[in-house]
Amino acid sequence: MKRRTFLKSLSAAGAATALPMPAIWSSAKAQARQETLLVVSESGPNNVDIHGVGTNVPGYEVSWNCYDRLISHEMKTLPNGTQYYDRDKFKMELAEDMNVGDMSATFKLRKDAKFQDGTPVTAKDVKWSLDRAVSVGGFPTFQMGAGSLTKREQFVVVDDHTVRVDFIKKDRLTIPDLAVIVPCIINSGLVQKHATEKDPWGLEYTKLNTVGSGAYKMTKWQPGAEVILERNDDWKLGPQPKVRRIIWRMVPSAGNRRALLERGDADISYELPNKDFVELREAGKLNIVSTPFSNGCQYIGMNVTKPPFDNVKVRQAVAYAIPYQKIMDAALFGLAKPLYGSGLDKVKDAVWPVAHNYNTDIAKAKQLLAEAGYPNGFETTISFDLGFATINEPLCVLTQESLAQIGIKAEINKVTGANWRTELNKKTMPLYTNVFSGWLDYPEYFFIWCYHGKNSIFNTMSYQSKQMDAFIDGAGDAATSGNKAAYETNVKGFLDLAFADVPRIPIFQPLSNVAMQKNVSGYQYWFHRRLDYRSLVKG
């Protein structure tokens, strides 16, 4: 290339950019807006198979809508009009009949159910899918285990359309556990074609493809940018969904998600900061539905194995020093259900989450701390997960200020999201805030993970108490045998003990907030807190 020709060609290229515009204008681009729902959220799936390695929560949403389970839950209406899943009422999905016996449950499958490729759903597929859930390891296997579903032998094919699930022990969580996201029914024939010796369960294939019988199928997925789901018109397990197409875009900036909603471009969004939800609700241009997390709460935990928090009086002092109301106002903008200041010495009902009787009382906190032998306080650190900094940071700063008033100097330790689980699992942080919520909404389920002496990883305080274990086990046994009175006594027993010993201080029950356009209706709250597209209606 010569210098002069190069310089000349520069100007030639400049002229060439003024290309004539081809005058082809397609007309029907905006046609199906009425039947399309635009969902915007912060992040998208990394895997659309809930059995996959490390599938994230957005991935659960795709799985929920693209696969069916044997059974699901009915809906009930809350006093505020919200549709809320009914923990105690099951609805048949792929099964047309469920017969729960003493040590097994038999499911008769619907004969008209078909996978999205047209092959019928048979008992063989059900067994293969449940086998897969208890075998792949990681989260799905753990979740199945929570309902005492651990062995492949438990799933028996009786005939082409009948499956029996044998119980290894009596557990009232077994049937509810078959209605969570994990035991989804997969097209086993199709997946097996893509299975390899290294990957016997075909996880690589289902990671990218939805191969269920569900009401929606994923037709396009651009990771980190967009997911498109189309309605499966052959789905017959319920009323046909009204929305033909779901376009789910990832919009990382919360400000822009809000702008999209306010301008009317996006139809539905969740995962906005509380402040935005409060302002949107006041503006009144959108429908805002706020529902408390089922079986979950945010708490301040203390490591009870080491001083000073091994002393119950220190823990009570901290519980009296938390600035509850300030946290509600400044960190949450009022969008949460308070779990403090009940005004009752003992809990009234056998339900959870429920408020404890601590409230901010600095004088009492000082006195308790002096009685514990720390009249001048002590130094410690308070840790939080930066991944949820919008709430955690103000919460910890307010707590730090308040603790300083009773002489406790708490240094704030911010932990990045990627590192939080690791730090929590070590169980060495002295003071920290965290959220726990369980899919299965039973008090003893929460307590067996978070307070029981078998010390699961959710017992982040390393709390040990024989009395507590007796109450929790007692409640579990009473539930299985159906002894209502004993159940209530035990549940109240562990609640009162948890509040008296306060290894962790519940602060509030977070709300699951969803904002949608006025013309969008049919939102349902599910235990997994993701959207069920089947019930949504636009226009």
């Binding site: 210098r3 635009l38 915007v40 390695v53 989260f139 940018a225 822009n256 990627a418 690791t422 990883i457």
Partner: protein, 337 residues
Amino acid sequence: MLGMVLKRLMLAIPSLIGVVIVTFLLTRALPGDPAAYFAGPAATQEAVDQIRKQLGLDQPLPQQFVRYVKDLARGDMGVALTTGQPVAAEIMSRLPASAELTLLGLIVSVLIAVPLGILAATNPGSLLDHTCRIVTTAGVSLPVFFTGLLLVYFFYYLLGVAPAPLGRLDVYFSAPPQVTGFYLIDSLIARDGETFVASLKQLILPAATLAIFALAPIARMTRASMLAVLGSEFVRTAKASGLSPSTVVVTYAFRNAMLPVITTLGMVFSFLLGANVLVEKVFAWPGIGSYAVEALIASDFAPVQGFVLTMAVMYVVLNLLIDILYGLIDPRVRIEA
């Protein structure tokens, strides 16, 4: 020239090897534990260990490194856990998005900054010169996410003239058939005018945001370099010979002042490409920067390594291109390898 190019490429190999080793070690030195992160909030220690084994992270570092290099030699950069896709494919699909945005931003920026710099240099101390100074200072001192959000607020939220900040195309459009990965070019190839306009609309605000930021270095460099050249003897000779001011400035002075400007352009381009993460976040742009940052937050090793390696290769290629351009612009510069 071909020999020179080959020689230069050979010289880049040791630095690339260094990049591979350093990124591998750096990602391993990150505090997070990917296994615990991807095991999810409801995972037992057992589940975490299982995932660690599946990811091959339970093996000693040297073994992991050997496996990484072996895969790399086959063009396999591993699989990203955050998105579940092969890293090489993701980078290939995301790089054009970033490149299109950056290039457009840079072109807009050059179209404004170069004339501005020239005018400021030909009239030093004038009102125009001060305007140039104010504009560039403001541009470089406003953080890009702020400029971006401000533009979205005015042009999308308040005025409603800009399209929704939803990435490269409005939701109801589908991408043109992929040829170059640049939507503007691909839609022209497909002779799809509507898609061309739609993607251009999506590009305007983010490109403007980048352009505002890139104005400063280019305008300042043009001005400084022009000032130096305008003071030199051959310009005085040209003026004395009675050439028109425009001929003097454009043909004689500017051509000679181009070298440092080109260098700056190269620097600004590669800087923007990696650093427009914030613009990508604001405009939900599926680019390479936001990809790398998301991976970094999740301690997802493979994409971070892939990103740094891709960037290193691009730097090498870009520098080579600039060196070749030097030779074409100024015959006195002959590159010795």
